[in-house]
């Protein structure tokens, strides 16, 4: 390579060297490799002090274990309550949403661990990984996996006891429900998460898992998407015994109660309609709360209480 070309290349080489060496946030402390849900080996410090979460489910998991260590969360984070409070007190910075996290803010926080979700978030955090930040993906596909992830996180944060305790609590709650539910045949339930267009949940979705645990059978369990649009005709054809709606459905419910075509649906005939807070479906590890609410709606009484004579159903849920 002649001299002038070498000279022209020099600044580029220099830049590369700088990038390769500089700005690595991993000092030579004790650290270890952990494999995340996407199969990546991530090098995490033993002493994780500050965490940024890129998705509400992970924010919840962290906060339940040790909320003080959560420094950055998304604008959609809703629980636990402690998290909401800490956000208000500016102890947790909002770094954006799941799909558009503000990379500069995250760098500014300087976390020891970034908790991401699926492959697309993994891709979006490439610049952060390049800068040496550990990005760990928790991407549970079912409830058992959620528990596993939670315990893993507990280990990483050196809070295994807390994690195990919470999981045990959840198991107890689930067992209660299972006992109550017995060997009964589940009731056919229609769960709608959005009024316009009408959106319900499908196969393998988290919400459907909750429904199943609560003793319900999703009338759209054959739908291959996690969530998808459906039409009135299909709902009527599937004839659910129970219809559960999340918040902002008040208008919707009023509307359909008057409509003749809806009258043939069992749930409408028997006034077996509930409205529940959307948050019940969104809890990650404390999902038992959601399951209980669903159970209450489906069977007309809270878990543990004696079943009243006949089926009692409420128009409004909690």
């Amino acid at each position: 390579m002649n001299l002038s070309r070498r000279r022209a290349l020099a600044p580029w080489v220099g830049l590369w060297v700088f990038l390769a060496l500089g700005c690595r946030k991993m000092p030579q402390e004790t650290a270890r490799n952990v494999t995340d849900d996407l199969g990546h080996q991530v090098r995490i410090k033993r002493d994780v002090r500050s965490i940024v979460s890129l998705v509400p489910t992970n924010s919840e998991l962290v906060c339940l274990l040790d909320c003080g260590r959560l420094r950055g969360g998304t604008r959609y984070d809703r629980f636990p309550e402690e998290l909401v409070r800490r956000v208000r007190e500016n102890k947790i910075r909002i770094i954006g949403g799941g799909f558009d996290p503000n990379l500069e803010m995250i760098v500014d926080i300087g976390p020891d661990l970034i908790l991401a979700n699926g492959p697309s978030q993994h891709k979006a955090t490439l610049p952060l990984r390049r800068m040496g930040f550990p990005v760990f993906s928790l991407y549970a596909q079912d409830i058992e996996w959620v528990k596993k992830d939670f315990l893993l996180l507990g280990e990483i944060l050196d809070r295994s006891e807390t994690a195990r305790a919470i999981v045990a609590e959840v198991e107890v709650e689930l067992e209660e429900i299972r006992k109550q539910f017995g060997g009964r045949k589940g009731k056919r339930v229609y769960l709608q998460t959005w009024p316009d267009p009408m959106i319900t949940v499908g196969k393998n979705s988290f919400s459907q898992s909750l429904l199943t645990l609560a003793g319900g059978i999703n009338v759209f369990e054959d739908m291959p998407f996690d969530s998808g649009q459906v039409s009135t005709e299909w709902i009527i054809q599937r004839n659910p015994e129970v219809m559960i709606f999340t918040d902002n459905h008040v208008e919707f419910v009023k509307r359909i109660s008057g409509r003749p075509e809806w009258q043939q649906v069992d749930a409408v005939k028997n006034h077996h309609i509930c409205l529940i807070h959307e948050t019940n479906l969104r809890r990650r590890i404390r999902f038992a709360v959601g399951v209980k609410k669903l159970y209450e709606c489906i069977y007309g009484h809270p878990v543990g209480a004696a079943a009243p004579l006949g089926e009692q159903a409420g128009r409004k849920g909690p």
Binding site: F18, L19, G22, C23, K25, I94, G96, G98, F99, D100, N102, L103, E104, M105, V107, D108, G110, N117, G118, P119, S120, Q121, H122, K123, A124, T125, L126, P127, R130, M131, F225, D226, G228
Partner: protein, 327 residues
């Protein structure tokens, strides 16, 4: 007269570019102190803002150049990658690549960009096919074909998004166009691939000039019109697909910038192309900076900013008196 304008123009352009660079590097949620930067600040500057700057510059240059090429190729002042549906084709290709699983970072160089290129070629073929009759392409027919093809291919992308898992749902933001997750990978892809297309465009600029005379006159001058047209079409599609695979859908850059440059520099492609490239890069740097600032702490997608600037300009072009463009 032209000569003076040209020299003057370059001077002003580089001044603008320098100013934009400074502006872009100094805007962001984190305040950077000029001297005595902390490790974090340096990290932000070199690992986030600098590659983002480079990406937006090269993508802007590439898109502006692609627009100039399409305008010269079709002799239609309203042509650019977005309007002609080529960008939609590229985004369909990119979406397919992601569905098929090419999501590794190197994929910017291989899978996603390659499929985006195939998608853009598909769109090009469709637009050519539907836009021409008896071998000739009238301006309006071309635009309508581009519109139709663009909408159709976008609809296909929408179907993929509905059916796909989390990966593609995330792409809603991607397809709105933006540099918010760009790092050195994206910067490298743009600064190696886009100059290739730009160089090819510049090399054959004299031929494209002659093509402005019309097919017969060009052939009579010894230009192999078929080869030159094909080469330029593919180059413009290439530039578009690299841009889309890196930064999503950004429209109107290829429309606005070449027109403004033509007003200063004229229509001779030998000078139009280089000037358009740098002007496009500067323009997109500015748009990206606006996108960062306007709704802080959130960011607007860059495509929204360029559309806000671009659509009024587009309408103005349609409305103006029959002057340079005979429309």
């Amino acid at each position: 007269m032209r000569g003076f304008q040209v020299k003057h123009g370059w001077f002003v352009l580089f001044g603008l570019l320098a100013a934009s660079v400074c502006l872009a590097l100094s805007t962001g949620p984190v305040k950077l102190s000029l001297f005595a930067m902390s490790v974090t600040e340096r990290a932000i500057l070199f690992n986030l803002r600098l590659p983002r700057l480079l990406s937006s510059f090269f993508v802007g240059g590439g898109l502006a150049l692609a627009g100039a090429i399409f305008q010269g190729l079709f002799r239609n002042p309203l042509a650019d990658s977005y309007v002609l549906g080529i960008s939609s084709g590229a985004s369909l290709g990119a979406a397919c690549a992601i569905v098929l699983g090419f999501t590794s970072p190197l994929a910017v160089f291989t899978g996603v960009t390659f499929f985006a290129f195939l998608g853009s070629l598909l769109a090009l073929a469709l637009v050519f096919y539907f836009g021409s009759r008896y071998g000739s392409i009238s301006p309006f027919r071309l635009l309508l074909a581009g519109l139709g093809v663009g909408l159709f291919l976008s609809a296909l992308v929408a179907i993929l998004m509905v059916m796909a898992e989390e990966e593609l749902k995330a792409l809603i933001f991607f397809f709105l166009g933006g540099f918010s997750s760009s790092g050195w990978e994206t910067a490298l892809a743009t600064l190696t691939l886009i100059p290739i297309g730009a160089w090819i465009a510049y090399l054959y600029a004299p031929e494209l000039n002659v093509l402005l005379l019309g097919n017969d006159a060009a052939q009579s001058s010894g230009v192999n019109t078929v080869v030159v047209r094909a080469l330029y079409a593919v180059t413009a599609a290439f530039l578009t697909s690299v841009s889309v695979s890196v930064a999503g859908l950004i429209g109107f850059v290829g429309l606005i910038v070449p027109h403004m440059v033509r007003m200063i520099i004229g229509a001779d492609h030998r000078s139009l192309f280089p000037f358009t490239f740098f002007a496009g890069g500067t323009f997109l740097i500015l748009c990206d900076t606006i996108a960062k600032v306007v709704v802080a702490p959130s960011e607007l997608p860059v495509g929204v900013v360029t559309s806000l600037c671009g659509v009024p300009f587009f309408l103005y072009l349609l409305k103006r008196e029959k002057g340079d463009y005979g429309l």
